[in-house]
Amino acid sequence: MSRYSVFSLVRNAFSYHQNWQRAWRSPDPKREYDVVIVGGGGHGLATAYYLATECGITNVAVIEKGWLGGGNTGRNTTIVRSNYLWDESAALYGHAMQLWQGLSQALNYNVMYSPRGLLHLAHSVHDMQEIQRRGNAIYLNGIDSEFLSPEQVREMVPFMSMEGRYPVLGALLQKRGGTARHDAVAWGYARAADAAGVDIIQNCEVTGFDIQDGTVTGVQTSRGRIGAKTVGVVTAGHSSVMAEMAGFRMPLESFPLQALVSEPVKPVVDCVIMSNGVHAYISQSDKGELVIGASSDAYNSYTQRGSYDIIEDTLQAICEMYPLFTRMRMLRQWGGIVDVTVDRSPIISKTPVRNLYFNCGWGTGGFKCTPGSGHVFAHSLANGDMHAIAAPFSMDRFNSGALVDEGAASAVAH
């Protein structure tokens, strides 16, 4: 891998950028790999990267049905945070947060992780109780967390309305929360994984699993059989479909989740603002677009397309927070498919099939954990045993009742 730097940029400029290497190769699949990762989104690519660079397993393939990062990795609202209530979540998302720092340097790819600060607004006594409880828990878990008074909120986000239908009574701030460039995360991991020897195989759809005596031995794909000693499935909204292929049910529901951006304007929203009471969230991209999201559609679906009324609800909430934005314009809107568990926490787990692992159920909030998810999943695959941080997220919890119920505590859109 030729390293990227300002010097390489200048050097290549003098050859009119004709000599840049491919960011990743486009190899034909080998007959067999030690590990096959199904799904070339951020989590899958990160898993491959950490397998190759930290676990010493370089005979790895990432198999992607379409194009890298084309699922939820390329469709989310790019928010990064780790301000979760439960200890298990705090460990997982906090782990990711540590990896976000320095990720650009580790990958030699600028993923533009930008700790601009993330505010959760409270609009009622109940909201205040919720952020107090969560903020204290985050603090005691050693993660940065501050409460802001309405005056401090006003200072931090000058154009936001404090006196709408639901006045702002306070906010929870995570300073290290912010955004990252979603495509760059997928591409950066892909390039670094490729450099470490991982085969990235796009346009290759998995059509079935080869399972002998309860042990997975490979995958059937649109480009033929690929043998594998271990298979990790990281397919987000289509995980339940993959599980069915492997002969078991995955406790997931898939919903469309939509997002939208405005036309680009000069900086006006500096941090990430989330409101569960008014129910929407907003940030501004480096390009200047307001990036906006809210809740998922109410019905199950596998189409990457939602219904218009969600957009209407979302923008009503945004214009309630920011009445000044009614003259702004929506430039683009899109949908993805999110895989939601009943406790709104992910599944990082062994399965009834030996050597077949799933990493899914990230619901509406997987992007922020991309590095952490890939890291603990890689170690779990490499060791044949779940990483300590991943262990609480086993699918057994739905039998035992040991849920990590982020939804119950705050009913948050992540």
Binding site: G74, G142, Y166, R327, R329, A402, D405, A408
Partner: protein, 997 residues
């Protein structure tokens, strides 16, 4: 300044009136009928903006909504609107426009330094740098963010309003060009309810910018005739200035009508600024026309270089041309009309055609008009200095990859190009329609459409570029019989020579000249190739890596060129490259229009109880609880919340208090299976509940976790009155309905929300009965109406339901009267209570009083992770019932294990310290986090009634029941470290005598 570029005659403008407007502080004039773009062109203003990345000077490219370059900040102050396409702004008197994304001025923009350094800023350069040192990224980013963005968002409240309308046409026609007008007319004659929408102020579409003949008359006369006939059909609605922007499932379509855009800020306040139409259409005809694509030649982005069709539109619709010496560069016949028409207006026109021959008619017409033709040639360079000076023309090689021979400098002050036409398939694609590639015209056109969104595409948007065919197809789609309008059959495009990148005198991408396919975001052919070289092969990757098609025009003029460039460089066909997804909206859609009237107080309706106004009149301080406004406390003069709540709390325990509990969720249950249903919904047994008796119950979700609680009363044999928490009312009703409809459809139960049908007043305290007795002659003694009893009585002359239930642990009566009597009965009670020094109390006091008794609030003391056992409420879980919702889960290994968090009371070491709600109990106090947490404070108040006044708290703590008597530590986020003692959660009247008194 004078309108030097205005032609002496022609155009659909009203020359009898002159409008004055401002651009970047200078005053100009134009006429009604102008757009800002045409008026600026008339005044010779060609520099209108700066590009996003390189800050290159930019002028107009187009005449319509596909414009990528000429984005301006329209108006100032509260009316300001960023990124507005000058081509879409109708001129009005006093219009004020500013250029964007430049500093200090449009002409001298410091950002142009990016252009000088552009060699170092290829596609995706930012992924490769700005990484060292890590801590400086935020600084780099700060600079990047300030340089990015285009216009400036409004900073003042929007003075305008927006509204929504709905319509259900049988036939929705999108686009009022020839095909769309034919379809609408045909539909109208066939008797259909037709809606015709078009983004322009006038009907006619492409006919407005041409000189065609239809049915033997001028096209404009034909349009006028159609307009008149449509106006006479009562079931036809014609909406101009209306852009169809979104096409959703089952023919649900969204359009924005720009009601006042042509009037500007002085528009009447009676009018909404925009009206958003929501159509549910039986059938849809898309007649959205086609968008010309530019040729990608060296420095094709210079101000003064337009699309060929745009020049023709400016000439015929606005009576203006961009200059006196025009170069037309084309690879097809359609631009010949531009050259011929401009030459007829006295402009010196040079036509550079990359083909060796054009169609006969085109060539003859051009020659007759005196157009200089340079065949087999290409523009290889542009001289631009404060305006176009000349273009370089060279001979093009047979394979189109090289230019040869001498450079001919053609002096000019304006130029235009045509690289072919792209049918506007956006809406078809939004409707999940497939596309097909037409090999003859080198365009994408609609193929099959999805069954859930039936529609047809007609005219140019279907890849049919002849006027006659457009009229025929439109007519047929409308459904009328009779002959279609007809026009002369002309081949408008002819034999197109695909030339995706026009070579120049240095290899493309390796020299000073830039070949833009994407103007606004500054993406060039070289960027596309770089993306390919680096492995961003998928068209989606290429798009994201080069930002092609991601500008405010969403690639209307650039996407197909990009795909063509990729296909030709990779040696594959265009369809093999694939297409990116067209997403709504077609043109950017104003937030306000989407939001409509649902702003401020209409955002979420404010729910008020029947007693709300009395409370407001009597100084209540309200809090938001869901959508409800609830009275939180009633301060007397000089009292803060703490003082008011202490007074209210004490008064209830010592005398009597009155509380408005109307927000409590209420569900009326009727039917012979209600008792069975209650047994399934609640954990306890309901079979034996007699008529006239109340019972408290807990509801669990599937995980065995408490999700609501309340009292349900049997008011008659098969008639029950259920109460829920205020916040849980809708959830519980939905829960009941879900089970009844999906799992128990055979059960005979009707569940009806009656929350707002009853006003609920809770009388609490030792003297509650005395107040009640003053208002009724019915017997409400302890014998006639004992604790957990129910009785219907006459109260203050009004029929009332009285429930002997208590959330304070005091003698209590919950009086329900029909909501319309609520305020009257409340006032009667207030009057009757005066003799007993009755206090009116709010939710805060209610919270304290129930906490004193250890009564939980679901959602506060329990959070969806608490079982009845965790709440020390095993007594309410029936061991005998065969089943109830959540029962299965209670025996799961984790749910039934020891050491779960359990509800306890906490008394802080310092009795005056009210523990913060949400503070956590740690198992080990350390100097700094992390510290292991074992629980948290769920409710915490100052109670004037415990130990003569002290703080009390409820908490959930791991293994809490066994910790009673222990001291625990609570490290607070502000650095304080406090201690508290674990105690029983019942602080008042542990024996529970008062409630039965």
């Amino acid at each position: 300044m004078t309108q030097d570029n205005r032609l002496p005659a022609g155009g659909l403008i009203d020359r009898s009136r002159t409008l004055s407007f401002e651009f970047d502080g200078k005053t100009y004039t134009g006429h009604p009928g102008d757009t800002l773009a045409s008026a600026l062109m008339a005044n010779g203003v060609t520099l209108l903006g700066r590009s996003f990345k390189y800050h290159r000077p930019r002028g107009l490219l187009a005449a319509g909504s596909e414009e990528p370059n000429a984005l301006i900040q329209l108006e100032r102050g509260a009316h300001t609107e960023p990124n507005t396409r000058a081509t879409a702004i109708e001129l009005y008197d006093g219009l004020n426009a500013c250029s964007q994304n430049r500093w200090p001025s449009l002409k001298y923009d410091i950002g142009v330094v990016n252009s000088w350094l552009s060699r170092f800023f290829p596609a995706g350069f930012y992924y490769k740098t700005f990484m060292w040192p890590e801590r400086l990224w935020m600084t780099y980013e700060h600079v990047i963010r300030r340089a990015a963005g285009l216009g400036v968002s409004p900073r003042l409240p929007d003075p305008d309003r927006y509204e929504h309308r709905h319509d259900q046409p049988e036939l929705l026609v999108v686009g009022a060009g020839p095909a769309g007008l034919a379809a609408a007319l045909s539909g109208a004659r066939a008797g259909k309810r037709v809606v015709l929408v078009d983004e322009n102020p006038q009907l006619g579409g492409s006919l407005l910018g041409s000189r065609d003949t239809i049915d033997g008359q001028s096209a404009l006369d034909w349009v006028a005739g159609v307009r008149a006939e449509l106006a006479e059909h009562p079931c036809v609605r014609v909406l101009t200035r209306t852009t169809l922007t979104g096409y959703f499932d089952y023919n649900y379509l969204i359009a924005t009508e720009h009601v006042t855009a042509h009037l500007g800020p002085q528009a009447s306040d009676d009018l909404p600024r925009q009206r958003l139409w929501k159509f549910r259409a039986k059938s849809v005809v898309l007649a959205t026309g086609a968008i010309e694509r530019p040729l990608v030649f060296a420095d094709n982005d210079r101000p003064g270089i337009l699309l060929a069709s745009a020049v023709r539109t400016y000439q015929h619709r606005f009576g203006v041309l961009p200059g006196r010496r025009l170069v037309v560069f084309t690879n097809n016949d359609s631009a010949y009309s531009t050259a011929i028409d401009a030459a007829s207006a006295g402009v010196a026109v040079t036509l550079v055609d990359c083909r060796d021959t054009a169609g006969d008619a085109a060539e003859r017409g051009a020659d007759a008009a005196g157009v200089t033709r340079m065949m087999g040639s290409a523009i290889t360079g542009v001289s631009y200095r404060n305006g176009l000076q000349s273009v370089d023309v060279m001979a093009l090689s047979a394979d189109g990859t090289r230019v040869d021979g001498p450079v001919q400098k053609v002096p000019c002050d304006s130029a235009c190009s045509s690289g072919g036409w792209n049918p506007a398939v956006h809406l078809h694609s939004q409707a999940k329609g497939k596309l097909r590639w037409l090999e003859d015209t080198h365009t994408y056109a609609p193929a099959a459409c999805a069954s859930t969104m039936p529609h047809s595409s007609v005219g140019a948007c279907d890849g049919e570029f002849s006027l006659d065919q457009a009229l025929n197809a439109g007519w047929a789609a409308g459904g009328a019989t009779g002959p279609a309008p007809s026009a002369e059959r002309v081949a408008s495009i002819g034999a197109l020579r695909p030339l995706w990148v026009v070579p120049c005198d240095h290899p493309v991408g390796e020299g000073p000249k830039k070949h833009f396919h994407e103007f606004q975001n500054d993406a060039t052919a070289a960027d596309l190739w770089l993306a390919q070289r680096e492995g961003f092969e998928s068209i989606e990757h290429t798009k994201r890596y080069t930002t092609t098609g991601m500008a405010t025009d969403q690639g209307k003029t650039s996407n197909v060129n990009a795909i063509g460039i990729l296909a030709s460089s990779r040696g594959i066909t265009v369809p093999e490259v694939g297409v990116t997804t067209f997403r709504p909206p077609y043109t950017p859609l104003t937030f306000g229009a989407i939001v409509g009237q649902n702003r401020r107080h209409l955002f979420h309706m404010v729910r008020k109880t029947p007693i709300h106004d009395w409370q407001a009149d009597h100084g209540a301080v309200f809090e938001d609880v869901g959508d409800w406004k609830r009275a939180r406390y009633y301060p007397k003069p000089g009292e803060d919340m703490d003082a008011a709540v202490r007074r209210e709390c004490q008064a209830v325990r010592e005398g009597v208090g009155l509380f408005d509990a109307s927000t409590l969720g209420k569900i009326d249950l009727q039917g012979e299976d209600v008792a069975w249903l209650l047994d399934m919904l609640y954990t306890n047994a309901w079979g034996g509940l007699a008529v006239g008796k109340c019972r408290y119950g807990l509801m669990l979700n599937e995980h065995g976790m408490v999700f609501d609680d309340g009292v349900t009363t049997r008011v008659a044999e098969n008639h029950y009155h259920m109460t829920t928490t205020t916040g849980g009312a809708a959830r519980v009703l939905g829960w009941i309905e879900e089970w009844l409809q999906t799992e128990w459809p055979d059960k005979r139960v009707h569940a009806t929300s009656v929350t707002e049908q009853w006003a609920v007043m809770a009388l609490n305290g030792p003297r509650a009965r005395a107040v009640l007795e003053a208002l009724t002659e019915d017997d409400v003694s302890n014998d006639a109406l004992p604790f957990m009893g129910f009785k219907e009585i006459q109260l203050a002359g009004v029929p009332a339901r009285v429930f002997r239930i208590s959330f304070t642990g005091e003698q209590a009566f919950e009086v329900n009267v029909p909501a319309r009597y609520g305020r009257f009965v409340w006032e009667q009670m207030v009057a009757a209570g005066a003799a007993h020094d009755m206090v009116i109390y709010g939710t805060e006091t209610m919270h304290v009083l129930r906490a004193e008794k250890g009564f939980i609030i679901v959602g506060q003391d329990s959070d969806g992770t608490m079982t009845p056992s965790d709440l020390d409420m095993d007594w309410i879980v029936s061991k005998k019932k065969a089943d109830f919702l959540g029962k299965r889960s209670l025996t799961r290994s984790d749910t039934s294990r020891d050491g779960r968090k359990q509800l306890v009371g906490l008394l802080s070491e310092d009795p005056s310290l009210v523990l913060p709600e949400g503070a956590h109990v740690v198992s080990e106090l350390r100097a700094a986090p992390p510290m292991p947490m074992i629980g948290h404070v769920t409710s915490s108040y100052f109670s004037p009634n415990v130990d003569g006044g002290r703080s009390i708290a409820l908490a959930v703590i791991q293994g809490g029941f066994k910790r009673k008597g222990d001291w625990v530590d609570l490290p607070l986020i502000d650095g304080r470290r406090v201690r508290a003692k674990v105690v029983d959660p019942v602080f008042v009247d542990a024996a529970g005598e008062r409630v039965k008194s």
